[in-house]
């Protein structure tokens, strides 16, 4: 009996040792570059559905599409104040900001050798518009035509000095129209139903950008390789691997990494105690706000202006900003500090419980109670539940009872669309990096406003006037001034309570150059990164 036991034990012991031996053998290569080819590792919590520029709307998709397809103009690094030429050497706006003429470069070729010309541009942009997907909205009021091989005219229905900014977005990337059409793509008016290219573009890049697709697995890994025929400066890394890594895992990974690695989701408190050897760059481009329903049928309480302002006064914006990490700021308006037109962060309202109580008393509101609906997710490194818990605690000090209702993200989005929530909470990122884009969504009667019952009829005339003033401004400077005024008005009469802003953050290992966060819409420009 004893012998049998011993031999069993031996077997067990050997089996236990084997995995250890294996790991010892292979302990040397970690997740970063080994000998040989230059590989950049990008750790990202994937939000990825497609690499088709006509449909790309999610963050990870935008990052990748940005280096697969070129756009007419682009932004450099983290500076979003001025567009830079890309496929278009130059452009001319008309005086009324309704027509923009882009002159294309003549030395750009696709991977199959064919030259990129205005036909490809018009095809790609028309396709984006006619596909009527999530990405199409930014060009919905534009039309495109080619006057000659190297000239494209973009006409906007309304005066819009931000057209060039919009045309820097990854979804406006230009593809090889011939090959695309061969594979079922179309830019016809009914493209929404007739476009049949399917998932071809997920595995084949038809762009002219610095990288090509090597492999695509939307749940774990996307590999890009440098495009040898790229017309511009060759990227610093021949090979880029984007891997799907959970946020807490990212933090551990980047802290241990020996080089050639970036992490894209370590916002907020997560970036707090990283080792000194990593580089951290961020831009405060995300805002977090509450929206109160203005439809009396949904809630008599939240549609009461006094209540809105009382709640506004009771919230400790600074305390909430602290929850978002070291670089976060209290919000002074709905425009995040990264963009021109933002109000001064030091003007952010301070918590004033007495004022809140007075507002409630003056309006004869007693024992106010409302339900706050929010998506139970972690956004940019912050658990939204934590934020609303603090909101609840703050409101309690002024005598307001808030009941928290977390919902899975899809249920939340659906409920939000239905417009039946008393108080909603969500993070906000801009559609394109210009402050004025917020007016499209948050003016009275615009989509976000309608979801909160803020119709034109219910809105203050001052809000309507201020929104119109922004749209009427045809110069960037004029827009900035109008935006600031708009925000002041919004802080008084709108149902939106901005609370804090935090940054999108890129963490890079020591040996990298050019790995900076960009608020332009693609998070980081992978082609800009090189090793020192």
């Amino acid at each position: 009996m004893k012998k049998a036991n011993h031999s069993k034990l031996a077997v067990v012991a050997i089996l236990a040792i084997v995995p250890l031996v294996l790991t010892a053998c292979d302990a040397s290569p970690d997740s970063s570059n080994g000998g040989g080819s230059q590989t950049l590792t990008v750790d990202n919590s994937f939000v990825l559905k497609t690499l088709d520029p006509g449909f790309v709307y999610e963050q990870t998709g935008a990052t990748i599409v940005h280096v697969l397809y070129d756009t007419l103009v682009t932004f450099d690094g983290s500076d979003v104040s001025e567009v830079k030429p890309s496929l278009a050497e130059s452009f001319e706006p008309s005086d009324d900001a309704k027509e923009f003429t882009f002159t294309l470069r003549d030395d750009v070729t696709f991977t199959d050798g064919s030259a990129l010309d205005s036909e490809d541009v018009v095809f790609s942009l028309n396709r984006l518009k006619n596909l009527k997907g999530s990405a199409s909205q930014i060009v919905s009021s534009m039309s495109f035509s080619a006057t000659d091989e190297n000239t494209v005219v973009v006409t906007s229905d309304v005066a819009n000095p931000d057209v060039p900014t919009i045309l820097a977005q990854p979804s406006t990337g230009i593809m090889n129209s011939e090959v695309a059409a061969e594979n079922g793509a179309t830019d016809a008016d009914d493209a929404a139903t007739t476009d049949s290219i399917g998932t071809y573009l997920d595995t084949n890049s038809l762009g002219s950008g610095p990288y090509k697709i090597s492999s695509y697995d939307p749940s774990s890994k996307v590999v890009l390789t440098a495009n040898p025929d790229y017309w511009g400066e060759a990227p610093g890394y021949d090979r880029v691997v984007l891997q799907n890594v959970d946020v807490q895992n990212q933090k551990l990974t980047i802290a241990k990494s020996s080089g050639d690695e970036v992490a894209l989701d370590l916002s907020g408190a997560l970036s707090a105690d990283l080792p000194d050897t990593v580089q951290i760059s961020g831009v405060p481009d995300t805002s977090y706000f509450l929206s109160l329903n203005q439809d009396p049928a949904v809630s008599a309480l939240t549609s009461n202006r006094a209540f809105v302002n009382a709640l506004r006064a009771s919230i400790d914006n600074e305390g909430i900003a602290k929850l978002f990490g070291p670089d976060a700021t209290a919000a002074s308006g709905v425009v995040p500090p990264a963009f021109a037109g933002a109000l001064d962060p030091s003007d952010a309202p301070k918590q004033d419980i007495d004022a809140a109580k007075k507002l409630l008393a003056d309006a004869a509101i007693s024992n106010p109670s409302a339900s706050l609906v929010y998506p139970a997710i972690t956004y940019r490194g912050v658990d939204l539940g934590t934020i609303v818990t603090k909101v609840q605690a703050d409101a309690k000090e002024a005598g307001i009872t808030i009941e928290l209702t977390p919902q899975p993200i899809n249920v939340f989005l659906d409920g939000q669309a239905a417009g039946q929530n008393e108080i909603g909470f969500s993070p906000n990122s801009l559609n394109y990096p210009v402050a004025a884009s917020l007016v499209n969504n948050m003016a009275p009667g615009a989509s976000t406003s309608l979801r909160n019952g803020w119709t034109i009829e219910r809105a203050d005339a001052s809000a309507i006037d201020a929104s119109e003033a922004v749209i009427a401004a045809t110069t960037p400077e004029g827009r900035v001034a109008a935006m600031q005024e708009w925000q002041r008005v919004m802080n008084e009469v709108s149902p939106f309570i901005p609370m804090a802003n935090n940054s999108g953050i890129v963490v890079a290992t020591e040996n990298l150059d050019g790995a900076v966060y960009s608020p332009a819409g693609w998070t980081i420009d992978l082609a800009d990164i090189s090793s020192k």
Partner: protein, 301 residues
């Protein structure tokens, strides 16, 4: 191949019985005085006590920020503070007020639902049995966590829906136990008395079924209490459990996992779950030993 036992002389068998049971019995006489049982009962008692007296025992208000955010364990805050500055020790204690009663509720309801289904299936037999067992199979065929997720996602994350989801995934187990004990009782009655079911049958079924199945059901319930706590924590971890700012252990681990270098936020709730679930499992084992005829000389058969 399993071979049939050779026939033995009765007296010799009885002696062997005693000898081998002595060989196999533990060093301690009664189940209830073994260290195993004592420890588990003690742990459960402590947690139950904490759950009941939590509002008075907690050093700080578990829902209010009482210190700086994210402080490591110190003399004022033995378990440190979390991201909102709340005392972790208080929250861990308060968590027992959620997890324990909820687990009990889940088990009780599952027992009720499963018990009724099992009784009906066993008693009425044929079609009802077929349907009931197929239904049970259906539920068991789903991966437990997926089904629970789907239910809570469907009806919204909340305490009530989490309980509902876990009852839905757990009742088939109780149904099977009750049903098989009903069947075995029926069989014995049939074999012994040799006549078909009459009205007296039902009463004796119930009279016999309950003692018959009480043992296995009790063991299963104790173990399921532990499992309910684990599943509740898992649902909270996935964002589908009780709402904030409730101090649920799984939710605390989820938040703590965002930032593993603040190890105290996820360690202590994890230990809390570990100790109580272990205690339940140990208790279940002890009950099983108690009920096992071989180690006690045949109390229940």
């Amino acid at each position: 191949m399993i071979s049939l036992p050779p026939v033995l002389d009765a007296a010799k068998a009885k002696r062997l019985n005693l000898k081998t049971s002595r060989m196999l019995r533990t060093q301690f006489g009664s189940v209830w005085t073994r260290p195993w049982t004592v420890i588990s009962l003690a742990v459960i008692t402590i947690w139950t006590f904490l759950a009941i007296t939590a509002p008075w025992v907690v050093p700080f208000d578990p829902l209010k920020p009482v210190g700086e955010n994210l402080q490591a364990p110190s003399s004022t805050h033995w378990f440190g503070t979390d991201e909102l500055g709340r005392d972790v020790l208080s929250r861990v204690i308060a968590g027992s007020q959620l997890s324990l009663p909820l687990a009990v509720i889940i088990v009780v309801f599952s027992l009720l639902v499963g018990g009724i289904v099992g009784l009906l299936a066993g008693y009425l037999g044929r079609t009802v049995d077929g349907i009931a067992m197929r239904l049970a199979d259906l539920v068991l065929a789903f991966p437990q966590i997926i089904l629970a997720m789907a239910v809570t996602a469907a009806f919204g994350p909340s305490t009530g829906n989490a309980v509902l989801a876990l009852v839905i995934v757990s009742w088939p187990l109780y149904a099977r136990i009750i049903r098989s004990s009903v069947l075995s009782v029926r069989e014995q009655e049939y074999v012994v008395s040799g006549h078909l079911l009459g009205s007296g049958m039902f009463k004796s079924l119930v009279k016999d079924v309950i003692p018959n199945s009480a043992g296995p059901a009790l063991v299963m319930s104790t173990i399921e209490l532990g499992n309910a706590i684990l599943m509740l924590a898992a649902l909270s971890y996935l964002g589908l459990g009780p709402r904030p700012p409730a101090a649920e252990w799984g939710a605390m681990i989820a938040l703590g996992s965002q930032n593993l270098s603040n190890w105290w936020i996820s360690l202590f709730p994890g230990l809390a779950i570990l100790t109580i679930v272990m205690a339940f499992n140990m208790l279940g084992d002890s009950i099983q030993d108690y009920l096992d005829p071989r180690s006690r000389g045949g109390k229940l058969r």
